[in-house]
Amino acid sequence: MISTDVAIWIQAALILMWLSQLYKQNIFYRFTEYTFIGVAVGHSTVLVYKNVVSMVYTPIVFKADFLLIIPVILGLLIWTRLSPKYGWVSRWPMAVIVGVSAAIAVRGAIKTQIYDQIIATIQLGVVRPDILSNVNNFLIVVTAICTLTYFVYFKEHKGALGTAAKIGRITMMATFGNTIAWAFAGRLNPLIALLQTLLLDWLHLR
């Protein structure tokens, strides 16, 4: 029996309209697109409002955390962007945002993205009883170095460097093939879930 739940009907209708883009662009698809964007913007706004209440209003009013007035003033300064004359004032708060987020990304990078990767590669330098894993470890070390050589900018990719860079490119392509396969898996699963909503929850085919 087909579902009698209004909510499921709304969902199913939206999904079908959404999937119609596969055939061609049409008004139903555009309706879902605009609905999606409208709700998304509204949702973000609500969340931001809740954040402001819990992180600014409550601490200042009930806990007298007056240090928080500084970011509030800086935040208000962002709005100067609306004035053509004083728009430059907004650069000050933007500098804070840019500075903090860049600093946090950079300071962690040395360890996780450089040292840890080097250490992990180094630790493959162990002779094991089975030949295959020795070969694999050797390949990993060599191809990792070759991949790095691909990113050398100031030396022409010729001779030994050229060969290494070529091996690096090939290694990267194998890596990408691997990730594409996984990415497809990551898209297929939501599709299965969607079809399950349609076929099982809505049409009750099973």
């Binding site: 709304i10 969902q11 939206l14 959404w18 999937l19 596969l22 555009r30 605009y34 999606f36 709700v39 509204g42 409002y49 954040n51 928080l68 970011p71 509030v72 935040g75 208000l76 962002i78 709005w79 650069r91 000050w92 500098a95 945002i97 840019v98 500075g99 903090v100 860049a102 600093a103 990304a105 300071r107 990078a109 040395i110 996780t112 993205q113 450089i114 990767q117 080097i118 992990a120 070390v141 191809t143 990792a144 170095i145 790095l148 690096g168 090939i170 290694t171 392509m173 194998a174 990408f176 093939g177 691997n178 396969a181 996984w182 497809f184 990551g186 898209r187 939501p190 879930a193 969607l194």
Partner: protein, 215 residues
């Protein structure tokens, strides 16, 4: 102070200073009061981005309100823009009026947002098939490697195949564990070097674009 100082030098100096402070907090052992202040700084950015949201809302209305008002334009365009604004305002009012865990808000979220959000990911599975049909061609040695590696891993991920031909899985697993690992590592180390260099450029105020807009 000259207007150049106010407009350019001070904001750039603020960014550099913050970089130094946050670095210092990471590398040096500091009194608790100082490190508390710095973790507070991290919270500031969250507050600041909340204020930026207002500008974004204005941007959205600035695009769609004129579209609704434009007489003589395509009727469906006008209706759709109006619908976008209406559903946006409804979501905001319900979210703020009833709060997010409320049944009313959940209704909007579960029935309008969630299915379409899943829809984006689901439709990509179709487009993946379409894109692969167009671009996955063994034109060169590199492209051949891409195709073969992709094929091996896709078939490895197929539960039936690994159940019928157990050794087949080891081919795909080899791709994952050998070039999959080493290629990633090379890429990650390269990016790490780039990120740190970027940080130094910001310290030296060479990356001015996010702050002043100029190169």
């Amino acid at each position: 102070m000259s207007s150049y100082t106010l407009r350019n030098q001070i904001p750039l100096a603020i960014a550099s200073l913050i970089l130094v402070i946050v670095f210092a907090e990471y590398f040096l052992a500091m009194p608790k009061a100082v490190s508390d202040f710095i973790s507070g700084l991290q919270k500031w950015t969250v507050i600041l981005s909340a204020f930026a949201m207002v500008l974004s809302l204005l941007s959205v209305t600035r695009i769609h309100v004129p579209r609704v008002m434009k007489t003589g334009a395509n009727m469906s365009d006008r209706a759709l823009s109006a619908w976008l604004l209406v559903i946006m305002v409804i979501t905001i009012l319900v979210g703020i009026g009833f709060d997010t865990p409320s049944a009313q808000y959940q209704f909007i979220f579960r029935n309008l947002f969630s299915p379409l959000s899943s829809g984006v990911w689901a439709i990509m599975a179709f487009y993946y098939c379409g894109a692969i049909l167009r671009s996955f061609r063994a034109r060169s040695l590199e492209a051949t490697v891409l195709v073969v590696a992709g094929f091996l891993v896709v078939t490895r991920n197929t539960p039936v195949i690994s159940a019928i031909i157990p050794w087949w899985e080891s081919l795909g697993t080899w791709i994952m564990n050998v070039p999959g690992v080493s290629g990633m590592r090379g890429l990650v180390i390269g990016v790490g070097v780039g990120v740190v260099a970027m940080g130094i450029r910001m310290l030296l105020q060479m990356e001015r674009r996010p702050i002043t807009g100029e190169a």
